[in-house]
Subunit: 905 residues, 2 copies
């Protein structure tokens, strides 16, 4: 026996261990481990994942040959431990057969229960349990499950129902009953006969009576389920290799439905909602596992304390509670005590909150499963910190326990859970900026103050809407993606936004929006969940998160264990301060274009754009200079002592021109030219693919005077603040370079202008000149770019757009389909595509550092706040990541985790 393919467990012994997940799958390894630490688990055995791989190569006959001796020995072991005999008609061993891969895989085979039953042994079970109905119901369920899962008895088309369900319906109709439980023993016998006939008819084979034939059928069916389309798509999406294979778990059946001394339930070692250290859960007496979740009977609480609280909430009297819904603690005190001990043992052993499944058969407790329990963001933080204080885990482990993205829940208002359950969902869009908001609909930005609390609803927003967006509680758009104007601005503000809700048809004239034919007027209340993209009717109650001490402790741990810095993307002193409060160590991206819209500046900007020559542009830029300088002073002050990376003007100029004829007329009057001239100029600016058009450094290189003005504003601001004792550290960033010559030209302009300002002011400040790496060509030529650049900042939004050839604003036409069909595993705009775009990031970093070993490298795309992407940034050796203020805590934890993981490797 060179290769061991079967691992037994039972009665406190096991051949496997928790660290053998690769070979035994997650479930198998845990079943073994529970045995080893003395938790009562029904005996059984696990067939290895390697056997599955062999099966895929060799086929059924060969694998049965290879497994036969070991499986027979393992079955004998279970027979001995359970004092039963597999296939025996009087005292049969019944087993469950379940798949169990390394990673949880919902695409795979369902469980087969009660395997080993046949026309003979059903009588034995009836006699043994002294319960005819139990025996025949078990048999009926087995034939149905086995037929479905192993024999492929599926509905013939999508429109038809399951063949067994159809037979059930016919029988129930004939008997005139509604519920399965109303069927008597004779009905169940008839069902078994009819089920078997259906199997014969549809598959051409008799239903297998032999327990061994049943077992091998089920085992190979589990193996086969590894290769179903569903499983393949799931693996493709989750990045699970096809080579892993699945293990098979065969385990003696235990029953919670053998009478009033039996029960079944699920429990959590701590509160999954709040994180409180309170054992809790639900159970049912005389029931099967699925009954607890099916909702036919009202589940009862495990602990008395929980039961009392439940009764109060439900308005159940103490008399009724004790009578009808007693807790396990009260109903089965001995079992409860044992369960409580087991849950303590499991949590202590696994050092995390556990989610348990248990069954009580005839007064005896059996654990069927344990796993780390899912939990809310708040519970995640509280449990981790409680366990730290309980000295169960250390600070690094606290950090590793944090699912960084979930911290988001703690930072924004959220809908009250009860309120949202009953709210009416109107439409869905993209979760453009997290948080929850309710307000009255307004359709025009300048009417955002018309009601006390408003939601601005637009087909899409433009920079002209900026002030209205500041006022509104939330923003909803019918068009535009995750980087649409609305989305980017809202995220910057930390304001709730749902974008691209395609079902909305907005009629600005009538001041209504229509969704599926229904009409919503200005002033109607709606609610947005910016974290899910859902739009609700009416006002839904929100709750404000409480950033208690635990959150702060975790942030301190993150600082302690992080290599990379975390900066923020912020365009205003306010955002900068918010981010600094969240722990941002500088600004990685300050977009200057948003400043161009505020107050009266937009007029000067338009004057610059509409000027026909350099002199005209310079005159307009001179008016803008004091505003820009003031902006930078505010931001430098807020980030006193930290670096501030300022990106020079980036968007195409047509984003700044007036779109309505009225505004165009105003412009014409103001500039003393004709409306026609204004219109011609605007139409000259139009572009077919603005994303790839006249923007970024292409502006600064065609109109150097813009770069001059911005540089002057930056340097003057820094020198002015120096006198006040504020330390400004400007890093001037040239956007969208694709050739080193573009950067050289901008660098020359910046340095010349700075020298001029230094001479004028008689004072100097330190500053850096660097560039975004956001064009594939720039990454490819990073060694040359680094000859000029003092820092790189990867603009992974645009880099993703260009590397994939996806316009983020248009990708909603195919991206959802691609995600659904598994062509893409994740949205590359949310999670950095390490395989493709990542190559450019890594190449860019390495080539840049080849030229300049100490080159400062960061990321300022949206990916800078996404945990997996942050880990990638750490792995390529970046100096920092930068993200929107509200994602700073997430990035800090992710950065710490990335660093800790390297140590663990």
């Amino acid at each position: 026996m060179a290769v061991k393919r079967v691992y037994t467990f039972g009665n406190g012994k096991a051949e496997g261990r928790v660290d053998m997940k690769n070979l035994l799958g997650g479930k198998g390894a845990n079943l073994a481990e529970m045995n080893l630490i003395g938790v009562p688990v029904p005996p059984g055995f696990t067939i290895t994942t390697d056997a599955c791989i062999e099966y895929n190569k060799l086929g059924k006959d060969a694998i049965v040959d290879l497994l036969k001796a070991e499986v027979e020995a393992a079955v004998k072991n279970v027979e001995a431990l359970t004092n039963t005999s597999f296939g025996d008609k009087n005292n049969p061993l019944l087993v469950s057969v379940r798949s169990g891969a390394r990673a949880s895989m919902p695409g795979m085979m369902d469980t087969v229960l009660n395997l080993g039953l046949n026309d003979d042994s059903v009588a034995g079970i009836a006699a043994k349990s002294n319960n005819d109905r139990f025996a025949w119901d078990s048999y009926r369920r087995f034939v149905q499950m086995y037929g479905d899962v192993v024999l492929g008895m599926k509905p013939e088309s999508k429109e038809e129902i399951d063949p067994f369900e159809r037979i059930m319906e016919e029988v129930k109709e004939r008997k005139g009953v509604d519920l399965d439980t109303d069927l008597d023993v004779e009905d169940l016998k008839e069902l078994v006969t009819l089920f078997k006939l259906a199997v014969k008819e549809q598959t051409g084979h008799d239903f297998p009576e032999s327990a061994w034939e049943q077992l091998w059928g089920a085992v190979t069916a589990v193996f086969d389920s590894w290769n179903t389309d569903r499983a393949k798509i799931y693996r493709r999406m989750e990045g699970i290799p096809d080579e892993w294979g699945t293990a098979v778990n065969v385990q003696a059946m235990v029953y919670g439905n053998m009478g009033d001394n039996s029960a079944t339930g699920v429990a959590f070692t701590r509160d999954a909602g709040t994180g409180e250290n309170i054992f809790n859960g639900e159970y049912l007496i005389n029931a099967q596992g699925e009954d607890v979740v099916a909702g036919i009977r009202t589940p009862q609480q495990i602990t008395k304390e929980g039961s009392l609280r439940w009764a109060e909430l439900q308005g159940v009297t103490e008399e009724d509670r004790v009578d009808m819904y007693p807790s396990l603690e009260e109903a089965m005190p001995k079992v409860y005590k044992e369960l409580d001990a087991v849950q303590k043992k499991l949590e202590h052993h696994y050092k995390d909150m556990q989610d348990l499944e248990f069954t009580v058969q005839d007064g005896k407790l059996w654990l069927l499963q344990t796993r780390n329990g899912k939990r809310t963001g708040a519970a995640m933080v509280k449990i981790a910190m409680d366990m730290y204080r309980e000295k169960i885990i250390d600070d690094k482990m606290v950090l590793m326990r944090i699912e960084a993205n979930k911290l988001d829940e703690l930072l924004h208002p959220v809908f009250d859970l009860d309120a949202i359950t009953s709210a009416q969902e109107l439409a869905r869009g993209l979760p453009a900026s997290p948080g929850a908001a309710s307000g009255q609909i307004v359709f025009f930005a300048d009417e955002a103050k018309k009601y006390p609390v408003t939601i601005l609803v637009r087909t899409e927003t433009s920079p002209e809407d900026l002030e209205g967006m500041v006022v509104a509680k939330g923003i909803l758009t019918a068009r535009g993606g995750m980087t649409s104007h609305a989305a980017v601005v809202a995220r910057g503000m930390g304001k709730c936004c749902v974008s691209g809700a395609g079902a909305l048809k907005i009629d600005y004239k009538e001041r209504v929006m229509r969704i599926d034919g229904k009409v919503y007027k200005e002033g109607d209340w709606i609610s947005l969940n910016g974290s899910t993209g859902k739009v609700y009717g009416g006002s839904v109650k929100t709750t404000q998160p409480d950033l208690d001490g635990d959150f702060g402790h975790i942030m301190d741990f993150a600082t302690k264990h992080t290599r990379m810095n975390v900066r923020t993307n912020a365009d205003t002193p306010k955002d900068a301060r918010v981010a600094r409060d969240f722990g941002a160590q500088g600004i990685g991206l300050c977009r200057t274009e948003h400043m161009f819209f505020e107050g009266g500046r937009i007029k000067s900007v338009r004057e610059m754009i509409l000027s026909s020559d350099e002199n005209g542009r310079r005159a307009a830029l001179d008016k803008l200079l004091p505003y820009q300088r003031e902006d930078f002073e505010g931001i430098f002050e807020a980030m006193d002592g930290y670096s501030v990376t300022i990106r020079l003007l980036d968007p195409p100029l047509h984003e700044f021109v007036p779109h309505t004829e009225a505004a165009q007329q105003d412009m014409a009057t103001e500039m003393g030219i004709s409306l026609a001239e204004v219109k011609t100029k605007i139409s000259d600016l139009e572009e077919i693919n603005p994303m790839l058009g006249h923007r970024g450094c292409r502006l600064g290189n065609t109109y150097p005077e813009i770069t001059e003005m911005q540089t002057r504003a930056i340097i003057e601001a820094a020198i002015n603040l120096k006198k006040k004792g504020v330390i400004a550290k400007p890093e001037i960033m040239v956007p969208l370079i694709g050739t080193v010559e573009e950067l050289k030209m901008q660098n020359d302009i910046i340095r010349k202008t700075a020298d001029l300002v230094f001479a004028e002011k008689g004072d100097k400040v330190d500053y850096l000149v660097g560039t975004m790496i956001e064009i594939p060509r720039a990454a490819l030529l990073a060694d040359k770019v680094a000859e000029v650049a003092e820092f790189f900042s990867f603009g992974t939004n645009d880099l993703t757009q260009m590397a994939f050839g996806y316009s983020r604003d248009d990708a909603n036409k195919f991206l959802p389909v691609y995600l659904e069909k598994g062509i893409l595993k994740t949205d590359p705009f949310q999670v950095l595509d390490q395989e493709g775009v990542g190559q450019l990031v890594e190449m860019g970093t390495q080539r840049g550092r080849f030229t300049k070993p100490d080159l400062k490298v960061g990321i300022c795309g949206e990916h800078g706040g996404e945990p997996k992407s942050v880990e990638f940034c750490d792995s390529v050796g970046m100096n920092y990541v930068s993200c929107s203020p509200f994602r700073v805590p997430i990035a800090r934890v992710a950065a710490a985790q990335a660093n800790i993981k390297k140590d663990l490797k």
Copy 2:
């Protein structure tokens, strides 16, 4: 003397050679070589390019120290050969000083002539030449040239004229004369005095009297000219390294203006226009070199035969000719005989047609320069083939002599040279599709037949204009780049097109276009030069090129020496046949979308697009199937035996929908839906960045039925033709993949459909499934893509757009500025950017072949017909290039050259 920095030449001896261009520059090496082969050249010496590099590091004093001994020796050598003395007042040696780099560099220093003259030696020259005026005019010219070139006597601002010219004007005005030649010796003396005063005033220094000081000044001025802004920009554009440096040529002066026994001229060893083997050129008696080209005097012909022909054309009587304009052959028969011998010797030595400059001083012939002569495309072909027949060069050398791009001149009609000279240029656009065309203006595609010969003038064309474009003689658009619809379609048809002529303002309502305020009506004649982008008023005579035997011979040589195949991009049987006649070995890109517009098909296409579900789409596609099949049958037949790469549907669907309300109403009526519904659907299709939107395989993956229909049409066509004995070799190409999963999914659909057709037809054909590599990510992941693809075709148009982030349709806002400022050396859409995009092409090829060593790789972007890019494709090991039919000959020669060059290396 470890390092030799000065190389002398003269009197049949030389220290340099023609193969020392790197060290001596092109001019210096040729001057040496002419000496070595016995051609009379004024003696002199060359200071090396290495000395220039040393000068840049060490400065003037150091370089003079290093050069002094060698230069003094070299001057002595010239003195000895000319029997003069440098700086001597009675018998001075006068020299010219010229720059001369490895490559011709117009950005560098002009010539300084007559160096060595001063207030003393001018008298010596006067005495020696017995010509006061000659001496003082030479001195005046020297002071002016030296002041300008060496002492930096430039105008103070752009508005002002040259300081010396200003003085000249003043003196002439005072004297009341118009021409320089009207000034007498005293005037010239005054000018020298005034010039020197101006120098003193502007520079603060006296004009140098010492010949040696003059020489060192001029030599270092040449060195300095290497680093002027103009030179730097030129180098950046031409890709010349800064490290090369320039050589300096110092040469004894000879004069063609010393009397009637002196002359100067230029000559060609063969006719540069026609290629005829006729010695020809022009000269003037008693003149300086610049007088021949200045146009003040009418130049005379070198040969008698040429002179007779000239007189006939000019209407000059034989009497006048002999009297006033005799040929050199007649006027100076001895000199002519010598020159004729020299030209024969030079051509034979250099084995190419030579462009000569000569001077006759007092009856003695001197050659000042020889270089390979520029020539027309026709002359290029004829000269190369004549020399082959004359056994001067072999077939490989014939190919290397072809400037492949110039073949274009031979393939399209061209404007008659005389006619075009007098034509009125109205505007300029992009040279979108070569050739020349005259016709009457029409503004609507469906009116293209309104006049016998029409030019279709549109703001931009859309696929709806296709039939009109077929009819029109040429196409002119006001908007759109080199890949605009008009440009791409016209190139495919080999039809003349000028696109993006921004000055045009078209008024469709009034049926006029306005250019700079002038109005051109429908029916007015205009002419287009699609090779230059120029638009002319009126009808300009065109001549049809004659593809004589020489062209065919060259094509045969190309076939013999080529490694790569050349295919064509063709969408119709007609184009396919044209290309095959030009030698195309298959189709590298057959775009299927153009077929969607012809005849009534567009209605079915629109029906498909506007359908709300798969069934509706399938019904419309069923209608299209027979058309598509027929298209493919025609193309396969035209390419019988050759591979045909068919690209599945690529453009975004909105390109197919009707744009006018009338057409939309038609569509609505036809489909039985409301106009509003049609409009909604069309507006749903709109995209912000269509280039990066829902197109390419994203269509086939969201609507698999499109891929199914196209595959079916391809396979059915191939099987149908098989019965007729036609061999179809379809290569089905999936466009725009960025992930291997996209290709997998399309591959599955294609193979399943093909198998279905095979089963239906009971017959099979071979076919391949491959993909465009046009998205950067696909190139990066080419190893994975090659697991599925059977061939790659690099779509370098889109790859360039995405690697640079340039929308070709919008780049006209900044690309011209970038080219002008030297940020880009060439337009990356015309010449493949080897440095950046080339990395992706090379990486993609290598990675693809890593997975599949025999992977077929080609290119089907516009670069496939551009010689430098073709060479690059050869260097990365591509199997073929593909280009538009009319560029096939160019690509064939370029491919052969690339292959020959590898042997030469």
